[in-house]
């Protein structure tokens, strides 16, 4: 199956609308990657750390969209745990926020986020996101799927 060779896109976002917007944006930008959505930080971290079933497969590649403000565990905490763990720190993390708070941006940079995006993400920004390296030895970005962009509606 084609999707097996594609990175899996993880979305940790509590707001249904924001999650739908992101998925539609990804689709419109040409990504056909499988998507897994989590409703809060705990769900996301349980998946990544292997506490839940199914969970993260070390043989596969991932890309994480992480909302900052979420109940139970916020995105900053998930980011902190992920980047502090050598097993997961190669996973690119795109922090999602509703405002351009310089303090939040500084915190996320400090913790090692790979990108910081204000919602809703503009179409042009996806190209940049697809260009993020997916980890050591990985040459193929999820944008590989975006090559057949003509399938995207004009």
């Amino acid at each position: 199956m084609r999707s097996d060779s594609l990175a899996t896109i993880l979305i940790a976002e509590d707001n249904d609308g924001h999650s739908r917007l992101l998925q539609r944006g990804l689709k419109d930008a040409g990504a056909q990657n499988p998507v897994i959505r989590f409703r809060d930080g705990v769900e996301a971290w349980d998946f990544i750390s292997g506490k839940s079933e199914p969970c993260l497969d070390p043989a596969k590649r991932y890309l994480l969209f992480l909302d900052i403000r979420m109940p139970n565990m916020d995105g900053i905490e998930v980011l902190r745990r992920l980047k502090a763990d050598r097993r997961f720190r190669h996973i690119p993390v795109i922090m999602l926020t509703t405002s351009d708070d310089p303090e939040e941006l500084r915190r996320c940079r400090e913790l090692g986020c790979d990108k910081f995006s204000i919602k809703p993400i503009a179409v042009e920004e996806f190209a940049q996101i697809f260009g993020l390296p997916l980890g050591p030895g990985s040459e193929i970005s999820p944008a590989a799927a975006a090559e057949n962009k003509d399938s995207a509606p004009a």
Binding site: N15, G17, H18, L21, G25, D28, D100, D101, E103, K119
Partner: protein
């Protein structure tokens, strides 16, 4: 007079009775009477003590009234045997201090009246000699009302600070939360616009009956885009306002630092960013002598940048823009900076409104470019958070002068 007689008797009695044993001249008695009257009528409490033993030999009506102990309860007792003074003189340390120094003064001494009322007094004692015997005079001024007013003021101040913090945090949280639904409106209306275009392309290719095709075309090219246009415009405006409010709210969350600010360096930097604009419009900036102030350098730089930006925005067309920046140290330990221009000026009726959030001046003037309408709101907050003040003087058609007072020293 009866009351007086009794006290006079008590007073003389306790001072050793030496006076009463001698016959008094008329003059002496008259003078004694005069002082006695002063003692009686004083609007401060007075206690006379034996300096050796601390025994109270006399108490004036004011102290009797104030403490609620009768003359009998006071006279003959030692100071530390009186309930009101028990705590203060319990160790008798203070009394020894008084004996050796000959003078003590307590600014805010708490006392308990006979009925349990809490009093706050100023207590001043002197030791002096009366005909060979050492006497202590204690003057007790009732400062309870003043003290209570001060406490009340402190309480109110604390409350204001607390409320202010509450409002700051409320402003930040609500503004931030407003962005969440707005992201949905923004994102989904963007999608709707995209989908409308696709729908139009699809339907224009479709084979629809003539009457229906025309109605669909009107809907897709006129009605729906018009609605979308207003939604998008509204969202843009709202997004800008929320962004502006967030900027203001964030100011309340950052504590300004304080350093000696080199104004010449600050203005050199600030003017550097306006060099191109100033050259384009042929404006000049005169910088006179600028003393240093003690403030947050970043804040000072932003405030001056904003004032210069405003001077450029609200310049008078056909008149060469001239901005003068000057400063001086004032008598009350502040540094006063003045930024004056020869621009459009501000109408008297508008003068107070310029600090309000989302206010923009000269909105009817097509030649004026408007910003978010938060510049001066932010400038005022910044200056005030730095322990300063900012105000404005202006004459419509002539020019505007902003006056900024900042602390000269920490």
């Amino acid at each position: 007079m009866k009351d007086n007689d009794k006290k006079e008797h008590l007073g003389t009695d306790s001072s050793g009775g030496s006076e009463s044993s001698k016959p008094k001249s008329g003059e002496l008695r008259e003078s004694e009477l005069r002082y006695r009257r002063l003692f009686e009528a004083a609007q401060d409490g007075i206690l006379i003590l034996d300096a050796e033993t601390g025994t109270i030999s006399d108490a004036n009506p004011f102290i009797i009234d104030l403490l609620g102990f009768s003359h009998e309860q006071l006279a003959g007792k030692r100071l530390w045997e009186i309930g009101a003074f028990r705590d203060i003189f319990a160790s008798q340390e203070k009394f020894k201090e008084l004996q050796s120094l000959g003078y003590v003064r307590y600014e805010g001494l708490p006392l308990i009246a006979a009925d349990g009322r809490k009093l706050f007094v100023e207590f001043v004692s002197n030791v002096y000699e009366v005909e060979g015997a050492k006497v202590i005079q204690c003057n007790i001024r009732d400062n309870t009302a003043r003290r209570e007013a001060e406490l009340e003021k402190d309480r109110l101040n604390e409350k204001i600070i607390e409320k202010n913090e509450e409002i700051e945090s409320f402003l930040y949280v609500t503004t931030h939360d407003l962005r969440t639904p707005l992201v949905n409106i923004q994102g989904f209306s963007r999608n709707l616009a995209k989908d409308l275009k696709k729908l139009y392309t699809l339907l224009s290719k479709a084979d629809l009956p003539e009457g229906i095709k025309e109605r669909v075309r009107t809907l897709l090219t006129d009605d729906l885009p018009e609605s979308m246009g207003f939604i998008t415009g509204g969202v843009l405006k709202m997004n800008m306002m929320i962004g502006a409010l967030l900027k203001i709210a964030r100011l309340g969350r950052i504590a300004p630092t304080s350093a000696s600010v080199d104004m010449d360096a600050v203005l050199k930097d600030v003017l550097g960013t306006f060099a191109y604009q100033l050259e384009k419009i042929g404006g000049v900036v005169n910088i006179l002598d600028l003393p240093r102030c003690s403030s947050d350098t970043e804040v000072v730089s932003q405030v001056f940048a904003l004032l210069i930006d405003n001077a450029i925005k609200y310049r008078k067309k056909g008149r060469r823009l001239e901005i003068t920046i000057e400063g001086k140290v004032t008598e009350d330990g502040l540094v006063r900076y003045m930024v004056s221009d020869n621009g459009l000026g501000i109408e008297d009726a508008e003068l107070e409104k310029i600090w309000q959030v989302f206010y923009s001046g000269h909105t009817a003037d097509p030649g004026v470019e408007h910003g978010e309408g938060i510049g001066l709101t932010i400038a005022k907050r910044m200056v005030e958070r730095n322990g300063g003040r900012i105000r404005v003087e202006s004459k419509e058609g002539v020019g505007t002068k902003f006056i900024i007072d900042l602390p000269a020293r920490k």
